[in-house]
Amino acid sequence: MDGGRAGGVGGGDYISSLLNSSPRLDFGLLSDGVVSGAGAGGGGDCLEKLCGDPGFAERAARLSSFNGYRYGGVGGDGGLFGMPPPAPAAAAAGAGGSREASSVSDPASAMKDAANGKKRKATNAKGKGQVGEERELSDGKRSKMNEIDKKENPVKPKAEQAGSDSSVEDGGGAGQKQGKGKNAKPVEPPKDYVHVRARRGQATDSHSLAERVRRERISQRMKVLQDLVPGCNKVIGKALMLDEIINYVQSLQRQVEFLSMKLATVNPLDFSNLPTLLQKDMYQACGPSASSVFSLESSNSAFPFAEQGDVFQQFAPNSMESQCTLNQLDLALSQATNGQYAFQDGTTSANLQQRNFWDDDLQSVFHLENGQSQDNGVSVPSFHGQLQAGHMKMEF
């Protein structure tokens, strides 16, 4: 299905991704409808990003006449504007280079996502199927475009953002004529809508066109990946770049593995480290990194599922709180552990006991089936009872 879709509608996807970016720049009238309809702060972000890019303005000028049609597509996609996760994720990936990458990948990925999303699949498949046919015929009269537009209209109401769509349709229908009038200034007379411009000497039959479009899309995505993977700029060629990408992914996965092991061995109750730092420094460090990790977590959990995975994200802030407050317990606890072996068995190593206790707590965190919560309930009171340390907040 993917292959068929790519063959039939590849051009539509690729060019439409360009178009989706372009209209936002020039056509305040029309774009306002789309942006407000699509809502989401992501729309504003995209606008800012794309306004800065002259290439998009150029493409906007060239493919300007297709606003009307494409707005339907944009409204239907909707997710193009409201995709917060890719934006911060891509932003987190790197500073300047990611700007372009995110703006490129946003339309591309959003197009992909929208196309493959469950709700929007039917709508877009139909719309794009018609687009593809139109392109392949490459006849392009305005009448045909109107035809497609009308065909698109009944399809549009099924799109997710129905409200925006209806406003966009009107804008699109009216805007076609307006758009053409307005955009007669930039270079060309309005041709048809979206088709891939066949270069001189290249075959223009549908298969090779589709093939070429597909290749262009793949290379576009490879460029995105190139921006993400450091050190990929020197390498040219699919195979080598794929090598780099694979290595990078593997190294990232290994890092995650290593860090999780390290987190397992790090002993938050190991108070020998704490006296080395000034308590002030600790609080200061806790502050900014707490807030930054908070914001990162919140951006990561932009789609709150309220399930187990979130616990890990919540665990970070909690542990930082407990770390900060543990400072106060530093002396008290060290005295306590040296003096009494505060727990059930009398083993020789207090640290071992502490670790076991912490382990139980960790278990209760990570096994949210709540089968283990009773352990937590059991061990915490005993700990509190022994130490009478009220502000040891282990909020799990």
Binding site: S109, R221, V256, K262, S295, L296, D310, H367
Partner: protein, 169 residues
Amino acid sequence: MDHRFVVAVQAEEDESVRQQQQHQQHLVRERGRRIKAAAELGLARSSGGRRWGRALGRRALLLRKDPATTAAISPSVGSQEEAKQGKVMEAEAGEEEDEEVMVEEKVELLRQLVPGGEAMAVERLLDETADYIAALRAQVGVMRALACLLSGLGSTPEKEASATLEKPL
């Protein structure tokens, strides 16, 4: 007799210490595994409904329950890999070593790396890879900052970590 007694007690203590150490190591490994599973779950949740996120979530849930199930999973992956490599080998033997074939091999590798990548077209795979890489980087950053903080290292690495976290935001 005292001497022997002491030696015996000593041996017992050593033994118990060793057992404790082994137990500890086992505990640590268990914790590491659970931490990793939780991290993967968090990563999956943050993926925003992407295919790789869902696949990773499924995998992580299984991992959390039981290390035995992971052993069950990996052989299937391994056999898949073998089968595909066998196919590729045949193609290679038939033709000369085309660039396309090499690329195909690498794409296969990538499919196995990115969770849920087995059933995707190449374009989509590249897309998901980009998203996955971005999320992995964020994950690594967070975990590194967390480790720094929890291990009570100096404020400089933490500030660096927090700076790298803050800057892209």
